[in-house]
Amino acid sequence: MGRHYLPNAAHKEELAKEIGFASVEDLFSDVPKGMVKEFNLPEGKSEYEVFLELNEVLSKNRTVLEMPSFLGAGTYFHYVPAHVKYLIERSEFLTAYTPYQPEVSQGMLQALFEYQSLIAELVGLPIVNASMYDWGTAMAEAALMSARVTRRNKFVVPKALSPEKRKVLHTYTAGPGVEIEYVDWNENGQVDIEKLKEAVDGAAGVYVEIPNFFGMLEEELITIGEIAHDAGALFVVGVDPTILGVVEAPGELGADVVVGEAAYFGNPMNFGGPRAGIFAVKNDRKLVRQMPGRIIGMTKDADGKRAFVMTLQTREQHIRRAKATSNICSNEALVAVAAAIHLATLGPKGLTELGEVILKNTAYLKKRLSEVAEVPFEGVNFKDVLVRFGKPYNEIHGALLERNIHGGYYIGEHFPELGESALFAATETTRKEWVDALIEALKEVA
């Protein structure tokens, strides 16, 4: 029953008396009578029993190590080098909180400053915060920021947006009343430029992703940015940062704001969480003043020595309260540090190789899938490949599972116009034998 976490448990009554209370119960004399009650909860167990029980429960999950999986659609099986996990489990990082006392928190502060710096190099923008909850909330906050900065209330996004992000965006924009306008994709599965031009009028921001939800690279990214800017809108780019060794930094392509998912580096899938949202902006005072989230800055200590500290806090909720740029307080610091350690390990060569290997593995997957199903969009894919089947995907999916293969993510319910389609994904972790087994199975069942 957890007394082993409670040093004073054996002496609680004695301590209560020592400070003038007749009993521990008396410490709760301010609680209205009858409100204290017995809870209907199980008794505590020994650590061993809990270990046995939860080990057994978790063993019921089939992992991607036991079952080749082609799921992607926003969550990917990347390999995290062992030292990353090892380092973030050091209790000085793991058990610390927000570095309110910088003098005894230089380690976390510097690590977060390095995270910001590494992301800045990737995305090509100089101002990066210390993390948002995930890509989706970062995008939603970018929409809100765009509205604040431009004093407009429309945010333009591609129709080829993940159902997750779509829902988050709607929830976040509901209160402030920012309207979302969707732009359809063209025959290449990319943003339809003509339709974008129609939509952009009066927009606070235009959002586009690279790669997009269908795994396609938006070739007209620069043009899209120009269209946004011409309309007086902010150009917000969402990016899977694992692509940035082979694809130009969005900041160099005109982005005012870059959001994305930092947890693709250094963090396992964890059934979807935790993640860490990237949030970066140009060095424009208006944007810096309006951006959400914690920011770590470099400064000096009283001896003139380099030191790090949380800065620009006057945007934040604990100071500005209802007028803050966001309500975010706890962010995803440790996730960001893990991403930083992984990025520092990869370096420029590693990031480029990572991008290249993913491009090649995705190309192999796409080539092989086209042998057994329709692959509607031509062009270069990164991770995800959209595949259309001739019969209900559900049946195919079940048949694959029986063969111990987890197929892709069914998108028919979210994009009915695409029919019985699914996203199949590859990363650097994908093995040839997995793909070959998938194709063999699909030949039988698709």
């Binding site: 004073n8 301590l15 190099e121 989706g136 130009e248 380099r306 209802a322 350690i341 520092a344 192999y364």
Partner: protein, 495 residues
Amino acid sequence: WDEPLIFELSREGRIGYTMPKPIEDVSVEVPEKLKRKSPLNLPQLSEPEVVKHYTRLSEMNYGVDSGIYPLGSCTMKYNPKINEEIAGHPGVAYVHPYQDERTVQGALKIMWELEQWLKEITGMDRFTLQPAAGANGEFTGVMVIRAYHLDRGDTQRTEMLVPDSAHGTNPASAAMAGFKVIEIPSNENGTVDLEALENAVSERTAGLMLTNPNTLGIFEDEILEIARIVHKAGGLLYYDGANLNAVLGKVRPGDMGFDVVHLNLHKTFSTPHGGGGPGSGPVGVKDFLKDYLPVPLVGYDEERGYYLDYNVPKSIGKVKELYGNFAVMVRALTYLKVMGREGLREVSEIAVLNANYITQKLKGTRGYELPHKELRKHEVVFSAEPMKKETGVKALDVAKRLLDFGLHAPTIYFPLIVHEALMIEPTETVSREELEAYVEALKRISEEAYSNPEIVKSAPHNAAVRRVDDVLAAKRPIITWRMYRELKEKGEVDI
């Protein structure tokens, strides 16, 4: 010591990884317009260098395992290692959120079980585990309140009431949800001023966001009356769970009259804070609000087993991608199973005992004042106002001086209604000796303030760095290596 930035440790040609080879070594060309042409200025290091760098950085950081960490309102309790062990199971790390439900029964069972525990602990009827942190949970909660009123056609409820002692996230979350925030003053006891509340409620009132015990560590003993007033006006009552550790296993927000509750798994339920996250901020509601919760919820059915339920007709949508911080949930459930009913109750008893121990042992010490009533719950807020007036030593100085003794400072300058606030929350996992040492240190600082104030004002003297200049940081922001490099090249920085 001085640890260089990782960029400064970089040497051309070093690598820290070996990439698996591609399946086929064919050339795949990124469209020319998109090809990376700008330099990729990432550092180049070998794995041993990366490991040494971050090991050294970690040694420049104070965590719960380093010593007492009594940040008020943050509940820095011990993070049991069994939580980490269970969260390290491959069935956590290597599971994709879109896997067929038949292949993730373990994960779903954990979420389902966690919800059952949280329901009983709070007296709520349904929980979403999606919010990533407390503030994300608050946003979820107020969005649910918003959806409820709108769904009933009650469109004029645009005001959210928030006491002046509340966490900054409360008004910020309400504002994000589109509410106008009305501040309710505290009375001389540090609790909600009932008269002010009566005057504030109206047909525009969407709800009241309250923490109980509040940020002063004081139990809102008029809570039932507060609930009556708000409900009578047609508003809902929102419980900020930041301080749940004070009543865990003893009193349920649901029994106090709250309709919506958010919890902080990283505070009350012992999951580590990670230097600022990941947290987890589940939100529970009474039955009449459950149809507004974010999707998906977790369902259970004898035949189907556990499943993700997207059939939430009036859902506010999503407040975060996917299902929340699952790895954090695993840790919290582990803790709950170890503690059990009696254990949880003992947590709050001892958390309250420890806070009152500090209260009683420190009160009367010169320079520190104890505003409001003496009986506290899990935390106590002293004011260093007398010390500041009499010696010039501020709460900030006291905090910095504590660092010199190898102790972490309390939260300072919060809540805003106490001047020169020192907000101390020891939690239940520190020992009597640690409490005593903390009180001793605060007493010694008082003596120093009145005898040799300079030593306090110039603290810390023994930390990794001397006092950090945050004014400079804000005046001339250097946020990234890229900015630093540019300023350095221009000769505009001397750090």
